[in-house]
């Protein structure tokens, strides 16, 4: 409750440029959330305009919420546990909207060397060996509660925030790649070359390790990850983002109703990303 109060306090009247922005954002399907609540969010991929913009939420019916976002002047707390649910039955083979959005959001460009090019999220095609059932799903950092990457990192550069987002502190990553050896999901990439034209919201660095940040800057500003946004905007609705700790979040409600599988659940990592439809 505090959050909505404080969010309201930092909200300023919407000016015309913001309305401009808002309309574009609405077209792109970026704005979500419960009626009457004001959000502030990073201006998405528009890197030149990285100021936090307050935007009025529409009454969009999608299920992606981050309503309990803390004010930016407060520390991250464990009141939230950000997570995702991916419905593989809605994820189309060949569709790369989530991947494209991620690359755009984080300024990831290929160098024609697929073995060394960074990928935060990729589409994986699966075919059951026993039934022949085929499906496709996006795979990225699973934002484990007890993350092997954070466990093995010698300097503590890999860490999990109190709200469940696994990150790399690029300032103290020494580039040993032990986290890449330890990650059960092959979710991490090493920056094999100098980085140019970085996005201000997604710092990168040659010789350090990186991975999906769950679009932490967006989430901190009340937004949703770019992949989820793109999937929703294109009406695939295969990804739900939200707060696993909030029993009333659409994510938690859906998980309670239909369940969700953790990848490598045998490792008991309590992942923040869950999957539906993974039936052989």
């Amino acid at each position: 409750m505090n959050n909505s109060k404080e969010t309201a306090e930092v909200t300023t009247p919407v000016n015309s440029s913001r309305r401009d922005f808002l309309s574009k954002a609405a077209v792109a399907g970026t704005v979500t959330i419960a009626p009457g609540i004001f959000l502030h969010r990073t201006a998405g991929a528009a890197v030149a305009d990285t100021d936090v913009s307050e935007i009025e939420a529409s009454e969009a019916a999608d299920m992606n919420t981050s309503v309990s976002t803390r004010p930016l002047d407060q520390d991250v707390s464990n009141k939230n546990r950000w997570g995702m649910l991916i419905d593989t039955t809605r994820c189309a083979t060949g569709c790369t909207d989530c991947v494209d959005a991620c690359n755009e959001e984080n300024g990831l460009v290929g160098h024609g060397r697929p073995e060394t090019d960074t990928q935060y999220i990729r589409k994986v095609t699966l075919k059951s060996k026993s039934t022949g059932h085929e499906l496709s799903l996006p795979l990225m950092c699973q934002h484990c509660e007890t993350a092997p990457c954070a466990d093995v990192c010698p300097t503590g550069a890999s860490f999990v925030r109190a709200d469940g987002i696994a990150l790399v502190d690029k300032h103290i990553c020494i580039g040993c790649r032990y986290c890449m050896m330890a990650c059960p999901y092959k979710a991490r990439s090493f920056v094999h070359e100098a980085v140019e034209n970085q996005k201000l919201t997604a710092p990168r660095g040659k010789g350090t390790v990186e991975a999906c940040t769950m679009c932490v800057t967006r989430v901190d500003n009340g937004g949703i990850p770019a992949c989820v946004e793109a999937c929703t905007a294109e009406n695939h609705n295969a990804m739900i983002f939200g707060d696993l700790r909030d029993p009333n979040s659409p994510l938690s409600i859906e998980l309670k109703k239909h369940g969700g599988k953790q990848l490598r659940s045998d490792l008991a990592l309590n992942t923040g990303v869950r999957y539906q439809g993974l039936n052989e």
Binding site: H111, R113, P114, E115, T116, D117, T118, Q119, R122, K123, V124, T125, L126, K127, S128, K129, S130, L139, P148, A150, D151, V152, C153, P154, T155, G156, A157, I172, C173, I174, G175, C176, R177, Y178, M180, M181, A182, C183, P184, Y185, K186, R188, S189, F190, V191, H192, E193, A194, K206, G207, T208, V209, L263, R264, L267, L278, E280
Partner: protein, 402 residues
């Protein structure tokens, strides 16, 4: 045994300076390789997002493992009170320090950000076995350094047993830590085995002793110093036990995996379908690094043949590299099993067997580590008295009857 006399090398001959010059040149090439890799980024190496640890790590881990094993001779003398090993204890400790230095330099210079050494030394995540290893390596220098001091300075000689025991315990912990770097990787099918730690300890015994023997024989031969068969045959027999030990642990490791159905696929890859990696395992690790040396060690016809012993040691070292290569590269080449029961494919090589071709700069960096090790040993032998004047049979074993 009577009082042991030690000497340093004169070190004024042309071959000596030629050796130092050659090693320095190799180190220069390694430095050049490092600048190239760090300037361009790691895409110029054979390492990728699939094979994240490559040839530099093979060299580094080999040298680090061998370092703790090289200390064995000193430990057997100080901890287990075997007098015949006593004269060689100084060289053993020196070699241990030099090998660890060479290995760590290679490991450091392959980091994505080697300039952040200070961060590696000041930011510790104590849940990380890697962080513990940094402490263990640093401690090893300290313990073995003090141990050497007690061996070489008679004013502190009385502390030698304690220093020797501490160094022995520390080296066991250190190699446990090195093995656990892989043993603790729960996500990868080829690792995640508690057996890794003791297997690495036995590997260290074997690799370290093979290197020690080569250095010992070369030093005494090149300097026309006496080295008797008593010492060499004792070391040869010990080497045989260690080589058999490595084979034993390797067998148990694979048998354990073969028993568990979930590991059948990875074992099929390692033992049958892995292409070059399977060849490296069977030919490099098992045949050249294990069975042939073992047969030669106990073959009666070549008992006192030093050339054969030299070949045996070289084969064990080659087999050691093959073993670490197999552990490291094959373990990464086999894909992560994220979706059991599914055939998997993606643009990020999910489900695919990953390939690795070492690049020249990587190999140069690794060889530079070996060069640094040998340079340290050669230089130290000149400036301090590490070598017993004679290791003739009558000196090593007064009861020896010709």
């Amino acid at each position: 045994m009577s009082k042991i006399e030690y000497t340093s090398l004169e070190g004024k001959s042309l071959p000596y300076f030629g050796l130092l010059g050659g090693l320095a040149f190799m180190m220069l090439l390694a430095i050049g390789s490092v600048f190239y890799m760090e300037h361009e980024g790691h895409h110029v190496t054979g390492m990728t997002n699939q094979i994240v640890w490559g040839m530099p790590h093979v060299f580094a881990i080999f040298l680090i493992v061998a370092a703790s094993g090289a200390l064995n001779i000193a430990s057997i003398a100080s901890v287990f009170r075997k007098k015949i090993y006593e004269p060689m204890a100084r060289l053993s400790a020196l070699l241990a320090i030099a090998l660890l230095t060479g290995g760590l330099i290679v490991l450091l210079l392959d980091l994505g950000r080697p300039d952040r050494l200070i961060i590696a030394m000041t930011y510790y995540n104590f849940k990380s076995i890697f962080a513990w290893n940094i402490i263990l390596y640093t401690g090893f220098f300290g313990f073995v350094g003090v141990y050497l001091w007690t061996m070489m300075d008679h004013t502190v000689y009385k502390f030698k047993p304690y220093a020797g025991f501490s160094a022995f315990v520390w080296r066991l912990i250190l190699t446990t830590g090195t093995g656990s770097i892989f043993g603790f990787l729960v996500a990868r099918s080829a690792y995640d085995a508690a057996l890794m730690a003791p297997m690495f300890i036995v590997m260290s015994f074997s690799f370290g002793l093979a290197i020690f023997l080569l250095v010992l024989m070369a030093t005494y031969k090149w300097n026309n110093m006496e080295l008797g068969d008593v010492v060499l045959n004792r070391l040869r027999n010990l080497l045989g036990v260690f080589v058999a030990g490595v084979l034993y642990f390797t067998t148990v490791y694979h048998l354990t995996n073969l028993y568990a159905t979930q590991h059948h696929d990875v074992e099929r890859f390692l033992l049958l379908d892995g292409g070059i990696l399977t060849s490296v395992f069977w030919i490099g690790e098992i045949l050249i690094g294990g069975l042939i040396p073992l047969a030669l060690i106990y073959a009666p016809g070549v008992k006192n043949c030093r050339t054969t012993l030299g070949f045996i040691c070289a084969m064990i070292i080659f087999g050691g590299f093959s073993k670490i290569y197999t552990i490291l590269i094959a373990g990464q080449a086999y894909p992560l099993e994220i979706f059991p029961g599914y055939e998997v494919s993606s643009s990020f090589y999910d489900g695919a067997i990953n390939s690795y071709t070492p690049s020249l700069p990587e190999i140069m960096l690794g060889l530079g580590g070996i060069a640094l090790t040998l340079f340290i040993v050669a230089f130290a032998l000149k400036v301090l008295r590490f070598l017993p004047v004679s290791l003739a049979d009558s000196v090593a074993d007064p009861h020896h009857v010709k």
